[in-house]
């Protein structure tokens, strides 16, 4: 699937977000955030290190480009932003279940994992505090698992895990963009729902590669292709063409 199509689809995660920090973790999410910020300059981005910048920083070697610093935001201050709710992160989990619960910690038995990954990172705090979207470059039943993910790193819409005093509306999982389609949680009772199919992809392909039932509307549109302007912008944000190697 064209990486630019996915970047364009991911960028729409921030549509209507107003003034929040757009955090895109990884090459595709970051390029998507850059595109979104170009469309909505109220969005905020960082230099992926310690400063909020006034315009997206192109990825890869800078070749003389100087980031337009406007606000220091080292890691100790990141959480002030996270907990304020004024952030929307697009992340790439290893597993996602029907509740939107995600896992980047460990696969298999938690006491003795088959595969130890990064650890939960900021997923618990992100998911209880602000909007989150997921980018899944390999839409398979190994990612979209039956049952629960092996280690619930971020809260989703699982009623059995809903904390006391919370309603499902307090959780805000926005968009899931994969190499096959775009989904959200607009199905009945926050069920995962097919929003659009990438060009050439069928509903059956999505169903086969998803480990649980999703809501499928009668009419599923095709994911909009990026415009010529989008393509030019994406190329500008990725002058070294790193995105082509980012997705298998």
């Amino acid at each position: 699937m064209s990486v630019d199509l996915m970047i364009g689809a991911c960028a729409r995660a921030w549509d209507g977000d107003g003034e929040v920090l757009a955090s895109g973790i990884g090459i595709v999410p970051r390029l998507a955030a850059s595109l979104a910020m170009h469309r909505n300059p109220d969005l905020m981005m960082t230099d992926s290190e310690a400063f909020i910048v006034s315009e997206p920083v192109p990825i890869g070697p800078r070749n003389g480009y100087v980031p337009q610093f406007e606000t220091w935001m080292g890691f100790s201050r990141v959480f002030d932003n996270v907990w304020s709710g004024k952030r929307h992160a697009l992340v790439t989990p290893t597993q996602v279940d029907r509740f939107g619960q995600a896992n980047i910690s460990a696969i298999g038995d938690y006491a003795r994992p088959k595969v130890q990954m990064l650890g939960v990172r900021g997923y618990p705090g992100n998911s209880i505090s602000h909007a989150n979207s997921f980018f899944v470059p390999n839409h398979t039943t190994r990612v979209f698992v039956d049952g629960e993910v092996d280690m619930v790193s971020s809260i989703g819409y699982n009623p059995e895990r809903l904390p006391k005093g919370y309603s499902p509306d307090d959780i805000d999982i926005r968009l899931i963009v994969t190499n096959l389609c775009v989904m959200d949680f607009g199905g009945p009772g926050k069920q995962m729902r097919l929003v659009s199919l990438h060009p050439g992809v069928t509903t059956d392909q999505v169903v086969e590669n998803t480990g649980f039932d999703i809501s499928i509307p009668g009419e599923v549109p095709e994911t909009a292709a990026p415009t010529a302007e989008d393509l030019e912008l994406i190329a500008g944000f990725d002058p070294h063409n790193l995105r082509t190697t980012a997705v298998r």
């Binding site: 003034e19 406007e70 935001m73 959480f79």
Partner: protein
């Protein structure tokens, strides 16, 4: 997003009964232009949270405060704030008197969306016995001790004054101390910021050092009011110092019959341009020497 507005529009958005946090410290970098705008409005029944100076004194004098959350109210070189003193001695206001660090914890709790922060501070003192609203708890980790549960001080609005800001709400404080202003802003649902200088965003791009003096992300700024010398008569280090003579005059007014009304007539009525004129003009204010502590 252009967040610039006028002081009167910004203050016009406040409502009776709101909880307002006021940044600065004693007579240092107080958002006095915004406070004067409250005096010019008919807002009342405020709960005010402040490391207090003349901001608290003036709001007491004009009867705007229903409840004050404070650790001190002082003008430093005039230790006792005259109008705050009068309000307390006349039992005009409710109070929640807490330790300076407890006030920080209350703001920090609100900023991090926590209901309270446990602390030893306040134990054994009348801060606990005089404040029914402050509970003591035990730790779930069983250390056998009691702890003060300092409640979150969630603000409807924060008022702070900064050296400079751009229209989008990037705010810079270059003075030697930003006090707890970042916590006020983060603890508030809305933050109204007055600034001495309104600058272009490119101001902050000169070097990464400039961005180090920006203490909150612009999404935390709701409104920007360009108010040159807007901290006067408090200081806005390094731009100008405390107006000692003005504070003396202000303090002296409290000893006169109808002294407060006379102060209002002379300085508050008629808007901020008249105020700056009455106190000697911007050039005079910017020449006020920085305080030495």
């Amino acid at each position: 997003m252009d967040k610039t507005t006028t002081a009167s529009e910004a203050i016009g958005s406040l409502e009776d009964g709101m909880t307002i946090g006021i940044g600065g410290w004693g007579p240092r970098r107080k958002p006095m232009a915004l406070v004067r705008e409250i005096l010019r409005s008919d807002i009342r029944d405020l709960t005010v949270v402040s490391y207090g100076g003349a901001d608290v004194g003036m709001l007491c004098a004009s009867g705007r405060i229903r409840k004050l959350v404070f650790a001190f109210v002082s003008l430093d070189f005039i230790p006792l704030e005259p109008y705050f003193r009068m309000a307390r001695q006349n039992a005009d206001i409710e109070i929640m008197e807490i330790d300076e660090g407890m006030l920080l914890l209350g703001l920090r709790a609100a900023a991090m969306r926590a209901p309270f922060i446990p602390t030893a501070v306040g134990l054994g003192t009348d801060v606990v016995t005089r404040n029914d609203a402050i509970r003591t708890i035990e730790s779930p980790y069983g250390d056998g001790k009691e702890w003060v549960a300092m409640p979150a001080l969630t603000l409807d609005v924060a008022l702070v004054h900064v050296d400079r800001a751009d229209r989008r709400g990037v705010c810079q404080i270059k003075g030697s101390d930003h006090y707890m202003d970042d916590l006020y802003v983060r603890a508030a649902k809305r933050a109204i910021v007055s600034c001495d200088e309104l600058v272009d965003t490119s101001y902050f791009h000169d070097s990464a050092e400039e961005a180090r003096y920006v203490f909150w992300e612009r999404s935390a700024t709701s409104a920007v009011v360009h108010a040159p010398c807007g901290a006067h008569p408090s200081s806005c280090n390094p731009l100008y110092g405390i107006d000692v003579e003005h504070f003396k005059k202000y303090a002296a007014s409290a000893k006169e019959d109808d002294g407060w009304q006379a102060y209002v007539d002379e300085f508050v009525t008629g808007g901020e341009a008249r105020y700056l004129d009455k106190v000697g003009g911007e050039a005079h204010i910017r020449s006020l020497p920085l305080p030495v502590y």
